[in-house]
Structures are given as structure tokens and as C-alpha cells.
């Protein structure tokens, strides 16, 4: 017997509990500037959804963060492959990667704002946050490749493409998938934070900033819900594609 319906009911009950608690707290507090309930957030979301600026902002932010993530994904795998194959390249990148991991995102945001302006800030910041995660996991994944299979490939002179696809890819896939699970959330968090600081036109960050300026807590939470939903959908799409490509 499948336990799926029971699990769905359980999850729905848990969600309902927290929503009711949230709504109850908002009613009891009675100060919409401090806290609004889920009902008011849903109303704000419907109101915002009807305006053309909503979709433009949502898709612009999705495009910027998606571009930053995609560039970092490609560069992380490319540099990771080079770092695995060429020890001098790995040594060359080591201090840069270390720096990218430890320097606060806020410092990068301010520097990138000075150097590149607000328009592409989210692309740069998402890239800087995602790249080290993808790079380090690519190197680690390639290093985990079965040595015995690599020796077999050497003896039988297996073609380079087959070696990559049949031997390296299965070893790399679990590392890439877990790296993406972390990096996708980080890309959204850092990308939106960068937009709030840089406030580029037609962005979720700009809308969040405006909500802050006007103490519009319902809109602030509505935009936050949009970010959560977009991040969730983006993660689902990327992980599904990745798992399919990895044959998992």
C-alpha cells in the first residue's frame, strides 16, 4: 500500500498549522508595519501579480541570477576539469578560490557596484558565490573517479569522449548535484541581496527596497514569496536536467 496520500495529508496539516500560527500572531499584534498575516500577503501578491511591472521584475531577476549561475556552472566545471588535469592550474586558482569563499558578499557587492554598475550586479555576485562551490566539487568529483577504470581505459585506449562520458561523468554527477543543491539557493540569496543594494531598474531587489522605504510589509513578504517560489522552480528544473544528463 502506498503511503503517499498519508504523507501529503501530514505535510498539508503541518503547513496549515504554521500558517494559522502566523495569521494568529499577526492578528494579535495588530500592527501591519511589523507583521502581516499570510492572508494579507496573498492579497498583496494578487494585487502585484496584476501589474505588468511584477512580471518584468520577476523575469529580469530570474534572468540575471540564472545567467550568473549558468556562467559559474560552466566556468566551475571547465576550471575544475583543468584543475584536475593540471596541478599548476589548480595551484594558480587556489588563492583566488579561497578569497572568493571567505570575502563577505557585501564587500563584493560594493566593489562590483563601483566597477560594473547596478545593472549586472546580480550576475556578478551570483557568479562569485556559485563558482567556488562548483569548482571545488568538480575537482573533488573527478578525483573520486575509479582509478582501476581509468587504468582499464588507458590499456584499451578508450576514446577521450567515451572516457569522459562513461567513466568520469558517473563519478562527477553526485558531486555536481549536491553542489548545485547548495549553490542554487546561494545564488538566489546573494543575487537578491545584491539587487537590494544596487537597486537596478525592473528587479525584485528594487521592489523589495521600495517596500522597505514605504514600510509596506505585505509587499515585502509577497516579493519574498516570489523569490522563494522562483528559487524552488529554478532548482527543480536545473536538478531535473542534471539528473537526467547524469543518467540518475
Amino acid at each position: 500500500m502506498s503511503r503517499k496520500p498519508a504523507r501529503i495529508r501530514q505535510r498539508a496539516a503541518i503547513l496549515l498549522f504554521w500558517l494559522l500560527l502566523w495569521q494568529g500572531l499577526a492578528w494579535r499584534m495588530g500592527k501591519p508595519i511589523f507583521l502581516v498575516g499570510p492572508w494579507e500577503v496573498a492579497q498583496a501578491l494578487l494585487r502585484l501579480g496584476g501589474s505588468p511591472g511584477f512580471w518584468r521584475a520577476a523575469f529580469s531577476s530570474l534572468g540575471r541570477i540564472g545567467a550568473g549561475f549558468s556562467l559559474a556552472f560552466a566556468a566551475g566545471i571547465g576550471c575544475g576539469g583543468a584543475g584536475y588535469a593540471l596541478p599548476w592550474f589548480e595551484a594558480l586558482l587556489a588563492p583566488v578560490v579561497s578569497l572568493m569563499k571567505t570575502v563577505p558578499v557585501a564587500s563584493f557587492v560594493i566593489l562590483a557596484l563601483i566597477w560594473a554598475g547596478a545593472e549586472n550586479l546580480a550576475v556578478i555576485i551570483s557568479f562569485l558565490v556559485v563558482f567556488p562551490i562548483l569548482y571545488l566539487n568538480t575537482v573533488a568529483g573527478l578525483r573520486s573517479t575509479d582509478r582501476q577504470l581509468l587504468e582499464m581505459a588507458q590499456v584499451f585506449r578508450v576514446r577521450t569522449f567515451s572516457k569522459i562520458w562513461r567513466i568520469y561523468r558517473p563519478a562527477l554527477a553526485p558531486y555536481l548535484i549536491s553542489a548545485c543543491q547548495v549553490a542554487l539557493g546561494m545564488a538566489w540569496k546573494s543575487g537578491i541581496a545584491a539587487e537590494v543594494i544596487g537597486t537596478p531598474e525592473h528587479s525584485i531587489g528594487e521592489q523589495l527596497y521600495m517596500a522597505k522605504v514605504f514600510f509596506s510589509t505585505d509587499e515585502l513578504l509577497a516579493w519574498t514569496a516570489v523569490v522563494v517560489a522562483l528559487s524552488f522552480l529554478f532548482e527543480r528544473v536545473i536538478l531535473t536536467v542534471l539528473k537526467k544528463a547524469a543518467g540518475m
Binding site: 582501476q148 587504468e151 588507458q154 590499456v155 584499451f156 578508450v158 562513461r166 558517473p170
Partner: protein, 217 residues
């Protein structure tokens, strides 16, 4: 001279592999010293020695996976090797056919299917080798080596893990599909060397070296 003798003499004239003064040690401990061997094209040779004598290390040197401390390995077959390793070394997520295709990408699908069915149950062909028994994986490993184009066949205990009936079938298959290529294999079973008509290369423990036993008579 009879026709068969002429052909044999012709085949034997070409050296597939020459090993000269080969030495190997690990952490200062000699594994073998001054190994000198000549393997001829089409010959079948069997390395017999107790465990730990360095049979696998010797094969790995011939495969180019290890470097000798000194000495030389030369010959026409050096760059064209097909191996059965001590471990099966198959990609677990791939089918038997996909594993073989890695080593033999140009093999005709119909021929490959026909060969697979000779050593494996028909219903196993669509399954990944991760689901195979140890004996089945060993057979895939043997098939891969024999169906690839390597001129020098280096087999490390190739019939390990096979039951008696399957061992016989595998030996017959090796005889048929060797196609006059040079075969050097290791085994602990004298009957496998006999069944394949192999010349024995024996271990000389006092000298830490390998020596080819001359044909009787």
C-alpha cells in the same frame, strides 16, 4: 619441411615482445631481477608462481601501467594490448555490450550480441553489469579483452570465479577467439595452462626472476 612446420616457423619468427634485464622493486625490496623473455607472435604463455611473486606487477609493467626500475620492454605488440585484470574493472552502470563497446567501438552490433550470448544468459544482456554475479562479470571481462583489437593479450587469472563447466566453456572460447594473437596469462591451475597449450614461464625464487621453460623434446 612440412607445410604446418613452415607456417609455424614463419609465425614464430616474429617477436611480439622482448623483455630485457627488467627489474622492479618497491620501497627498496626487489620484486624481480634481471628478467629476460622473448614472446613470439601467436604464442601462448603462462606465468606460474606462488601468490606474491609479482605476477600482477609483471603484467602491469607489460601493460604500461607501471615503470620498471631498469630494463627494457620492446616489440611490435607493445602498444596494442588487451587485458583481463585481476579485478573485473567494468563500468557498473553499463550493460555488458556497452562495456565491451568502450574497448571495441567498431564492433558490429549483431556480432557482439551473438558473442555475448555464447557466454552469458540471454536475459542478462539488457541489465547493467552491477546486477551480474561475479562469474558473469568475469565472462564480460574476458569477452571485452578478446573482442577488442589488441595484439597482445595479457590475462591475470582470467578464469577466476568461474565454475567448472563455465571454465571449460571460457577456455574453449579463448582458444577460438584468440585468432593467433600472443597470449600471456597467469594462473594457479596447471590444467588451464595445459588446456590452452601454453608454454610455461616459471618463477625462480632464488634468482627472483622468470624463466621460459623450453618445450619438452
Amino acid at each position: 619441411m612440412r607445410e604446418e612446420e613452415k607456417t609455424e616457423a614463419c609465425v614464430r619468427a616474429e617477436k611480439a615482445l622482448t623483455v630485457r634485464a627488467l627489474e622492479k622493486s618497491y620501497d627498496g625490496v626487489a620484486i624481480f631481477r634481471n628478467v629476460n623473455l622473448e614472446l613470439y607472435t601467436g604464442g601462448v604463455y603462462c606465468l606460474t608462481a606462488p601468490s606474491g611473486a609479482g605476477k600482477t606487477t609483471f603484467l602491469r609493467l607489460l601493460m604500461g601501467l607501471e615503470t620498471a626500475d631498469s630494463g627494457r620492454i620492446e616489440g611490435s605488440a607493445k602498444g596494442s594490448v588487451a587485458a583481463v585484470f585481476q579485478e573485473d574493472r567494468l563500468c557498473p552502470g553499463l550493460t555488458a555490450a556497452e562495456n565491451i563497446r568502450l574497448a571495441a567501438p567498431r564492433i558490429a552490433p549483431a556480432f557482439l550480441r551473438q558473442e555475448l550470448q555464447r557466454l552469458l544468459p540471454k536475459d542478462s544482456l539488457s541489465k547493467p553489469v552491477a546486477e551480474f554475479s561475479g562469474g558473469m562479470r568475469r565472462r564480460v571481462s574476458l569477452l571485452r579483452a578478446l573482442l577488442s583489437g589488441g595484439e597482445l593479450l595479457l590475462f591475470d587469472e582470467p578464469f577466476n570465479g568461474l565454475d567448472e563447466e563455465m571454465r571449460q566453456r571460457a577456455i574453449e572460447y579463448v582458444k577460438e577467439r584468440r585468432n593467433d594473437r600472443t597470449l600471456l596469462f597467469t594462473t594457479h591451475h596447471a590444467n588451464e595452462a595445459e588446456a590452452l597449450g601454453a608454454q610455461r614461464i616459471v618463477w625462480e625464487p632464488e634468482l627472483l626472476t622468470w624463466r621460459l621453460m623450453q618445450d619438452a623434446g
